[in-house]
């Protein structure tokens, strides 16, 4: 899963438009697109594996 790094705000269409940060609700497709343009500002996080204990 991709996410915008903490303390980073991305303005893909300039500051006249809304910026995105790690609280923005963005689809993974949008995050992939942002990663192609701002590779240093997007990070991949590994989903924690859930184990079910009986």
């Amino acid at each position: 899963m991709l996410k915008i790094k903490d303390d980073v705000v991305i303005y893909p269409y300039g500051k006249a438009c809304n910026g995105f940060d790690n609280k923005s609700e963005l689809s993974q497709e949008i995050l992939e697109h942002l990663q192609s343009r701002f590779p240093d500002d997007i990070e991949e996080i590994k989903e924690a594996k859930q184990s079910i204990k009986k």
């Binding site: 303005y11 893909p12 269409y13 300039g14 006249a16 438009c17 809304n18 910026g19 995105f20 923005s24 963005l26 689809s27 497709e29 949008i30 992939e32 697109h33 942002l34 192609s36 343009r37």
Partner: protein, 332 residues
Amino acid sequence: MGLSLTISDIRGKAYEPILEELLFENKTISEALVSFEGDVKNESIFTENTNAVSMQAFASGAPTSGGTFTLVDTIVTPTKVMFYNEFDPNALRPSRFKRSMRPGAWEIASTEFERVVLATYGKEVSLDAESKWWTGITSATKTAIAALTPGTGQTAVGAAEQTWAAAQTATLFDGVVAKMIYNNGALGTRVKVAGTTISSTNINAEYAKAYAALPAVVLAQTQKPFIYAPYSHKQLINIFNVSATYRDLFAVDINADKYFYNGIEIKFVPLPENTMIVALPSNLIWATDLVSDLNKMEINKIANNREDMFVKHIFTIAAHVARQSTNVLYLG
């Protein structure tokens, strides 16, 4: 009250001109960069026609019908909007504006305030309308675009298009870009070009992508298309040309303030960064009741027994994009 004052009691001489905010001119209207459809009180029907012909072998007997006439109507309903602001001219009495008030305690109207401040406010209204005509998007359209399944093909919404929609603040009506992405309840049939962040080093390559995507038939028309680009591209193009080794790749006439890419004139409009449109101006339609409504403001007392005043603009506005499949939308 919509009057924010940081004023000094006028004692000495006031520098004569008021230093107005620097504003772009609404060239979409003043230079007619697109088409205008006035007299749209409520609804207007735009009809698009495409035909198909079918050559067939001659027969002396009964011929078989071939070909089709296709007519598609689109109903465009402009949104009625207004700007309304109240202010108390009495608050201007200690300021420079008292010089242009007539003698008498009743007289608090300043001609200088009306001539400069309210005129600039009127320009702001015009620019706001222009900006939203290009980039406006309703919250319903934002939601609809976000719900589409993205893909790289022309028949799927682009991830960049979804990103663009998510980056806009919702407005009261859909502007040109929104109409190109989502039109009449479905994905628009624009020619989409996946772009990137445009800089002074890659601007040539990015314009080439948009140019190459333009259907050739558009360049064969009597009316020539424009490249509609953000204001910042003027600087990026100039810097790029300075860096070009052998010749200017963008033709520029600095004196006439004209910019071209491969013979197509570039028009700088209030589009967001990394956003471009290549289209015939007749395809982009500004529908309104009366174009000059934008320049009409009413200034009056709020009530006869009050001294505070209001300034009000009312107009209708809609963006319609015709011949969608011939228009290029570049989004970084």
